[in-house]
Subunit: 243 residues, 2 copies
DNA sequence: CGCCATTATTGACGTTTCGTCATTTTCAGC
DNA sequence: GCTGAAAATGACGAAACGTCAATAATGGCG
């Protein structure tokens, strides 16, 4: 006996429902409020059925995080394909991170909590593997833009520094900043009035630091970013504004 | 009847013991293996006694994190007091972060997991408050160095950017990088062969980006850092090497 | 249709951890 | 030794975990 397409579909749909419910609960009530039994109750099936889809809550979070990183990889690709010089493409990519974090906070929160390795390793190995792949893809896209910039002689890397290493720095800056923001750290009281703005400024500073032309003094990256947001990431802009 | 000094002492000692045990368990076996009952067993007292000291495991982690941030604030102070120009002091401060992360991984791991707000808020409010204070102190020290640099005209902040905003960027870069490293993300396979080195390079790039003199091309910050490590942070260097 | 074989679903169960609190123990001071 | 305050204990109920034998649903087939 085979699984009918109808049944197949039902199962896939349920998986989506589980993830939706989990995302909502996790975002609003946090890690400890997220549990398999509640999810089951809420979608009207039994605990065992939920366990049929995911081995535990970390596994659910890993799936959410994976979808997030996948989505981000997609946004990165679009940003990297922006018509313009490498540094402009990098600027657009930065902006895409902000949009990602604001449009999909449940994904980003999942990513963040899974930074803790002992939580991460509870998820199914395949899911861990998949996640790593997506993360890799993201950093490779960033490194690719750096490579293009170097090839066009728009920037020179310091001696002994690779494309990936600069990409690592760029990534650390934005990731760290958004991570710090995510938590209740009261940036504003610390003198950072507009954190998102601040991140973009700092990112520009960083690229000016390797002399990546056109420098931030020579080109208005902010308006390029605004423009690109509208054309490339209409959906995310809407989502981000709604949150 | 009053508490005798002897008893007082015993209680304080036990608090330390609890933290030691918790730090060890958390670092080696992770969040879920850390629980009040095991701690009690291991130090030979009852669960209730442990609960007398901390309201739950997040509270213990918060205390560990606080001690960490306190320690870091102390290291930052020393770095900031280094005899040299502001940018040299900043370079020393950076190195101190690396030493901190490597010498006290249990503290840093506690900090990281408490980035998740719903975990953080389970700790006692006083502890949360204390932690915030320490974090604030750290960023203020960084901002102070920026301020000195500006005052000496070693750098000019871009229009509309405050000391704290640059400090936020600097902090994000290093924090994000160390956070990414902490997890199993295989940086090496991504082309980042020496991550710690890489962080320092990127940090230099960032300060070059605001034209902070002397530029990294004009002064060998790495040897200043090495030198300072030996004189200012002897203990941490030893600890870091042992890990 | 009715039966079978297979797959999906269920929820009771044993286990673990949580956090509380009534009870017992300890001990300084008299 | 007695006493009363402070400290320590561990039994307890609640909650979540993850499993698995039993039950239900379903598609294929005569």
């Amino acid at each position: 006996m085979n699984r009918s397409p109808k049944k197949q579909n039902e199962i896939e749909e349920r998986e989506t429902t589980i993830l939706d419910v989990a995302a909502r609960v996790f975002l609003s009530d946090g890690y400890h409020s997220l549990n398999m039994e509640n999810i089951a109750d809420e979608i009207g099936c039994s605990k065992g059925t939920v366990y049929g889809h995911f081995r535990n809550k970390e596994d659910i979070l890993m799936e959410l995080a994976s979808r997030g990183v996948e989505k981000r990889a997609e946004m990165f690709s679009q940003a990297a394909a922006f018509a313009g010089r490498p540094r402009e493409r990098m600027a657009v990519l930065w902006m895409s991170i902000e949009l990602y974090v604001r449009a999909y906070p449940e994904y980003f929160a999942s990513e963040l909590i899974l930074r803790t390795e002992t939580l991460r390793e509870k998820a199914a190995p395949e899911r861990q593997e998949f996640m790593r792949g997506c993360e890799n893809r993201c950093i490779q896209i960033v490194a690719g833009i750096v490579r293009d910039g170097v090839a066009l002689r728009d920037l020179h890397l310091p001696d002994g520094m690779s494309d990936e290493e600069l990409a690592f720095g760029v990534w650390s800056l934005t990731y760290g900043a958004h991570g710090l923001l995510q938590t209740g750290t009261p940036m504003k009281s610390m003198g950072v009035k507009n954190p998102f703005q601040s991140i973009l400024y700092n990112a520009n500073i960083m690229l000016d630091g390797v002399g990546w032309k056109p420098l931030s003094t020579e080109l208005d990256y902010q308006s390029i970013q605004k423009q690109a947001a509208k054309t490339l990431f209409e959906d995310e802009v809407k989502l981000a504004d709604r949150r």
